[in-house]
């Protein structure tokens, strides 16, 4: 019998494959229970018009109780969006990926939140501490404890 996390991911994938992804989001690769990739773009007017990014999800055995590790892919010529919450190494400072994660959220829900994060961006710039962070950043963004506006525990 498959584990809870495997079953849950199988259901999410099943739904993606039967119902499709929301507009601007496309499943690129989901060959296993460890890592999935999506392309994400902002539809309509935005600072990111015409740009397509790739999101990498990595899951551990406790998903969905534990959050997925999510980042933009910055290899193979891909880049992360220039955004005040996105580091140049692809790591994302988003509370729902950290202390605001809830097990009722899903992969698609995360995609949509990040899409709307990009859509509402007013100024294309990197986080002020980008260089310092990127120099010391762990491979897995979940190992970083980002500080969010007033929500940090």
């Amino acid at each position: 019998m498959a584990s809870i996390s495997a079953r849950r991911l199988a259901k999410e994938l099943h739904e993606i494959q039967t119902e499709g992804c929301p507009v601007g989001i496309n499943l690129l690769q989901a060959d296993d229970f460890a890592a999935w990739q999506f392309t994400i773009e902002v539809m309509g007017e935005s600072l990111y018009q015409g740009e397509v990014f790739t999101l990498l999800f990595r899951f551990d055995k406790h998903y969905p109780i534990s959050s997925p590790a999510v980042q933009f892919v910055v290899t193979d010529g891909k880049t992360s969006p220039v955004h005040p919450h996105v580091y140049s190494n692809g790591h994302i400072c988003a509370s729902i990926l950290g202390n605001e994660w809830s097990p009722v959220l899903s992969v698609i829900a995360v995609c949509l939140t990040l899409q709307s994060m990009l859509a509402s961006c007013k100024k294309k710039e990197r986080p002020p501490d980008n260089d310092r962070y990127v120099r010391h950043a762990p491979d897995n963004p979940k190992k970083t404890q980002f500080h969010y506006d007033g929500n940090s525990p």
Partner: protein, 402 residues
């Protein structure tokens, strides 16, 4: 594929059961209400039909085991984020449990009707396995239980404590009032050990612990919230009786020996270091208490719970032996076959459309999205209770790299 037809078929059936979800039903225009109903009866954490549904003070409902796991991580409702929730606040929800039970029977039947009526595409194999009851939820033995019932006495061979003797025995039965013929092996077994006997696969005929068995009969159904505040104080407190919730233990105050004693009292292995013993006991308390949140007839036997625990420990061990998230390749290899198996069935049935179904909308609660024509200038709002968009403290950009 080189699999024999038999095992291949079994795999497919397993698969169909595995990926059953509300999209098995036609969309809202074709079959109003069915997807929504199916979604409503699913736990938002595991996305399975509720198993031992419990309700938090806010009214949100989850599988007992799922929410206990979630609360251990974070003491809030996963759906509305109302805080300060703990296991003591859980209330059983027998009405939902009954609805789920009825729905899990009606589901394959309805799918079959839809299939016959041509309302489902032929490729939807989950409907094919429908009538075979394969998708009956997490209680694999419940089917056989029903068959095992000795017709005249009318009782279930129940895994549930306290159910077996809820009705007086048929007076005409040959066995003396203190004994009953085992519905499985036919041998005469004493009343008070029939559960133990069945759990043992018809091997046990003698009582191990009369106190346990006695309370098995007399023990009242204990509210899941009760006893939570009480801490286990050594041996006596932790002598759990069937049908009684296990108290939460603060392990910090216990010596290794006492922790092993707790495990021993539950008939569990005491191998491993302190951390493993604690993890084992914690999980056992969770499994045990969530099992009690089910109606007696739906409960698992102690031996089933034990094998659930073993499986959990094994998975834990597997994920410990390598950091899964960082060993993508190894993980991939390991789960490749399982994944293939699970997803083969889920291959696109129709071209991936850009429209979103009503069911997803229901799944991710408040999620609302617009289609391509309406502009996204009004940002998508997701989970009304969660922050609209991630924030980054501009003034305080300190980052701790762990």
């Amino acid at each position: 594929m080189q699999m024999s037809t038999g095992s291949k078929k079994r795999t497919i059936e397993q698969l169909a059961a595995t990926v059953s979800d509300s999209t098995d039903f036609p969309d809202i225009d074709t079959a109003p209400g069915l997807r929504t109903l199916d979604t409503a009866l699913r736990c938002p954490i595991c996305c399975e039909l509720f198993s031992g549904p419990v309700t938090l003070r806010c009214g949100h409902c989850f599988c007992s085991l799922c929410i206990r796991g979630s609360l251990a991580q974070k003491q809030e409702c996963p759906s509305c984020r109302k805080g300060e929730e703990n296991e003591g606040h859980l209330r059983v929800n027998p009405v939902v449990e009954e609805a789920v039970e009825a729905w899990s029977k009606a589901r394959p039947f309805i799918l079959q009707l839809l299939h016959r009526g041509g309302r489902l595409s032929g490729s939807n194999s989950s409907s094919e396995s429908g009538p075979s009851n394969k998708r009956k939820r997490s209680n694999p033995d419940s089917d056989s239980d029903i068959e095992l019932v000795a017709p005249p006495s009318g009782h279930k061979t129940g895994i549930g404590s306290g159910t077996v003797f809820s009705k007086p025995q048929e007076p005409m039965l040959a066995a003396s009032p203190a004994e009953t013929p085992c519905p499985v092996c036919g041998k005469t077994v004493k009343h008070e050990i029939i559960n133990q006997h069945l759990d043992s696969g018809c091997k046990t005929f003698h009582l191990n612990n009369s106190k346990t068995a006695w309370s098995k009969i007399m023990g009242p159904r204990v509210d899941p919230g009760k006893n939570k505040q009480t801490q286990a104080k050594g041996k006596e407190r932790s002598l759990s009786v069937e049908g009684e919730a296990l108290p939460k233990v603060s392990y910090d105050t216990l010596k290794d020996k006492q922790i092993k004693q707790l495990l021993q009292d539950q008939g569990l292995a005491t191998l491993g270091n302190r951390a493993l013993c604690i993890a084992r006991h914690q999980k056992w308390v969770m499994l045990w208490n969530s099992n009690l949140d089910k109606a007696p007839k739906n409960r698992k036997s102690k031996s089933q719970l034990r094998s659930d625990l073993d499986q959990w420990l094994q998975e834990k061990h597997e994920s410990k032996s390598k950091v899964v998230v960082e060993d993508t390749f190894g993980h991939q290899k390991k789960y490749e076959s399982e994944f293939k198996r699970l997803t083969e069935e889920a291959r696109p049935k129709k071209a991936v459309s850009s429209q979103l179904s009503d069911s997803r909308e229901a799944t991710s609660s408040e999620a609302k999205y617009t289609d391509a024509t309406s502009s996204t200038s009004s940002p998508v709002k997701l989970l009304s209770q969660s922050p609209q968009s991630p924030h980054h403290d501009g003034d305080n950009n300190e980052i701790e790299v762990l």
